[in-house]
């Protein structure tokens, strides 16, 4: 296993109260595997990803419980300096997929792509330069050699996204977290870039976590899917199982909400109701207020039910 997360709890200590953004998340990513972390906006996907890097909002964010192991090494207790020097950008890379804003507008892309390589002592001098050209070529930036001095605004949105990917793969991290914001405009660019990363993954064995709100995108790109709702993973399984026989009512609702070809439907209308507040979440099943299959027992925390090989869901209906 590249990554093993167990019972992770990440809290944000806000003025309004304690926001339990990640509330008992367990997940794992194998060698060369792509895991899709799927859920509505605000379900805690980004904070799960940031927890892996221990890059939580300054002052308020804290991992309060649980373990994160990368190749067996515990990260929650690692000193901050070691996190910065040996983990972030070196063994775990996280990219936020907003191509328009993810690159620094006043530095050349040569500088930006070489920055992680320099900081982690991967290469220096002429070797650094050729390594930068190599990764840029790998992500299909045409005539990369000549474009090292160019600035982000001189590239298309798709190219910028690939440059961001180049920044992440340069140090051949063990785990790559690609966070696609719910507001992303161009899904095709996201799909292309993940497809590209998956090709690179075949050579390096890097594990990938793809964070998305779009179950359709996840289904086309991932080996396994973890569905997140209000800070918890409600269902995990191989992509075929999730797609063919979704078991948790929330997964079922998400799948039903994917617009089919030629059908126009707003995602917001798809699942009635709102996700619960994470400051004062309902006890028991968090999906209960919106669940069509709700029953009395659902006021207690649902058990995790093993359904088949690697397919599990947290729901009373399945118990």
């Amino acid at each position: 296993m590249v990554l093993q997360v167990e019972n992770l709890h990440t809290h944000l200590h806000l003025k309004r109260g304690i926001l339990r953004a990640v509330d008992g998340v367990s997940l794992s990513v194998g060698e060369g595997e792509t895991l899709g972390l799927v859920g509505e906006s605000g379900s805690g996907k980004t904070l799960t990803g940031l927890s892996l890097l221990r890059l939580l909002p300054k002052g308020s964010g804290r991992i309060v419980e649980g373990s994160i192991r990368l190749d067996g090494q515990e990260l929650t207790t690692l000193p901050e300096a070691a996190m910065a020097q040996t983990i972030r950008g070196r063994r775990i890379a996280m990219i936020m997929q907003d191509p328009m804003t993810s690159l620094n507008p006043v530095f050349s892309i040569g500088d930006q792509v070489s920055n992680p390589l320099r900081n982690h002592n991967i290469a220096q001098g002429a070797a650094l330069r050729s390594k930068v050209v190599e990764v840029l070529t790998q992500v299909r930036i045409p005539s990369a050699e000549k474009r090292l001095g160019d600035y982000p605004h001189q590239f298309s949105g798709g190219q910028r996204q690939r440059i961001v990917a180049a920044m992440a793969i340069g140090c051949t991290p063990r785990l790559l977290v690609a966070d696609e914001p719910t507001t992303a405009l161009d899904v095709t660019i996201q799909v292309q870039i993940i497809a590209l990363l998956r090709q690179i993954q075949a050579d390096t064995g890097t594990g990938i976590i793809l964070i998305t709100h779009d179950l359709g995108v996840a289904a086309s790109l991932c080996h396994r899917i973890a569905v997140m709702y209000a800070g918890r993973i409600v269902e995990t399984g191989p992509v075929r199982r999730i797609y063919k026989s979704p078991s948790h009512p929330y997964t079922q609702a998400l799948l039903a909400a994917i617009p089919r070809l030629g059908e126009k439907r707003s995602r917001l209308q798809a699942i009635p109701g709102q996700p619960p507040s994470l400051i004062d979440p309902p006890t028991g099943c968090r999906f209960a207020p919106r669940c069509p299959a709700r029953m009395e027992k659902c006021a207690e925390q649902p058990p995790i039910v093993q359904l088949a090989d690697g397919h599990e869901a947290a729901c009373w209906k399945l118990a």
Binding site: I95, S102, P105, P116, Y151
Partner: protein, 306 residues
């Protein structure tokens, strides 16, 4: 790029022309210079003769056109008081003013950038709070007051630095601080808010996620972004320095254009006033042009857009 320069030069020429009209009219309205040049008991015929000699008996518009024509050929007339070309007088003093204004600006930026950056990085921390008090103090103290205070403390009491004159690097310290003091507060605010914006941006988040040391994030990757808004304002601040120089040069007996013009105003030495103000506005236009050209160096987007 060339078109930008030409356009700016053209706009600059218009502003300088405007400045020349305003200063010409105002100086003529301020009174009759001949009265200052002749003995109190001079006969009217002598006054009239001197007026004719300097062209002061002509209609105002004609006087202005004459002035403009001569000015374009580099002739601003002779100083009534010093009996030497006004242009020569001003050009002799110009380097001292540029030196003072540049040092003043340097002082303010050298103070504003680190305070602004640290205030943003430690938002709400002690540097931020001290910075805010500092800013309030700065805004409440006019240049002449700061100047007098500096003279009192560092020249009179401590005797560390010279209070008056010009010549050694030590001489420029107090006047530069007096001049550069005022804009520090505003510049700190610009840097602070720009840094807060940048530090919250996606590309900085990405830099952090990829393990960039915090030192580089703040002083390299964020600061170059945050420098753009300050840089765009530097022309304005340089102009403020030139304006402030009139007061500060007078207090510190700094032999620059400002002090010369102030003295010329009191003696109604029109040619010197006109040449001085005109050259100050030329300096102003040139500094703005320089800034316009330089932020293309910092912000690559600007190079291509225009």
């Amino acid at each position: 790029m060339l078109r930008l320069v030409l356009r700016r030069l053209w706009q600059g020429a218009i502003s300088i022309l405007g400045a020349s009209v305003i200063i010409f009219v105002i100086s003529r309205l301020s009174g009759d210079p001949v009265v200052m040049l002749v003995p109190p008991d001079a006969p009217p015929s002598m006054i009239a003769e001197i007026r004719a000699q300097y062209g002061l008996d002509q209609p105002l518009v004609w006087q202005y056109l004459l002035f403009l024509g001569h000015a374009l050929s580099g002739d601003f007339g002779n100083s009534y008081r010093w009996q030497m070309p006004a242009l020569q007088l001003i050009l002799d003093r110009l380097p001292a003013t540029i030196q003072l204004a540049a040092c003043g600006l340097l002082f303010s930026v050298a103070l504003a950038v680190p305070i602004g950056v640290l205030s943003a990085v430690h938002r709400g921390g002690w540097i931020d709070r001290i910075g805010r008090v500092f800013a309030m103090l700065g805004q409440a103290m006019p240049a002449f007051w700061v100047g007098l205070l500096l003279i009192l403390v560092f020249a009179v009491q401590l005797n560390w630095l010279p209070a008056f004159g010009h010549g050694t690097p030590a001489h420029v310290v107090l006047p530069a601080i007096a001049l550069g003091w005022y804009p520090v507060a505003a510049q700190t605010r610009i840097v602070r808010s720009a840094m807060l914006d940048v530090l919250d941006s996606d590309h900085i988040r990405l830099s952090r996620a990829l393990g960039t040391p915090e030192r580089l994030i703040v002083w390299k990757y964020a600061l170059r972004n945050a420098a753009v808004p300050l840089l765009t304002m530097l022309g304005v601040y340089f102009a403020a320095m030139l304006g402030g120089a009139f007061v500060v040069e007078t207090i510190f007996a700094w032999p620059g254009v400002g002090r010369t013009v102030v003295e010329a105003v009191f003696s109604r030495d029109f040619p010197v006033v006109q040449a001085g103000v005109l050259f100050t506005s030329i300096l102003f236009v040139l500094s703005n042009l320089l800034v316009d050209l330089s932020y293309g160096l910092v912000d690559p987007r600007i190079r291509d857009v225009r």
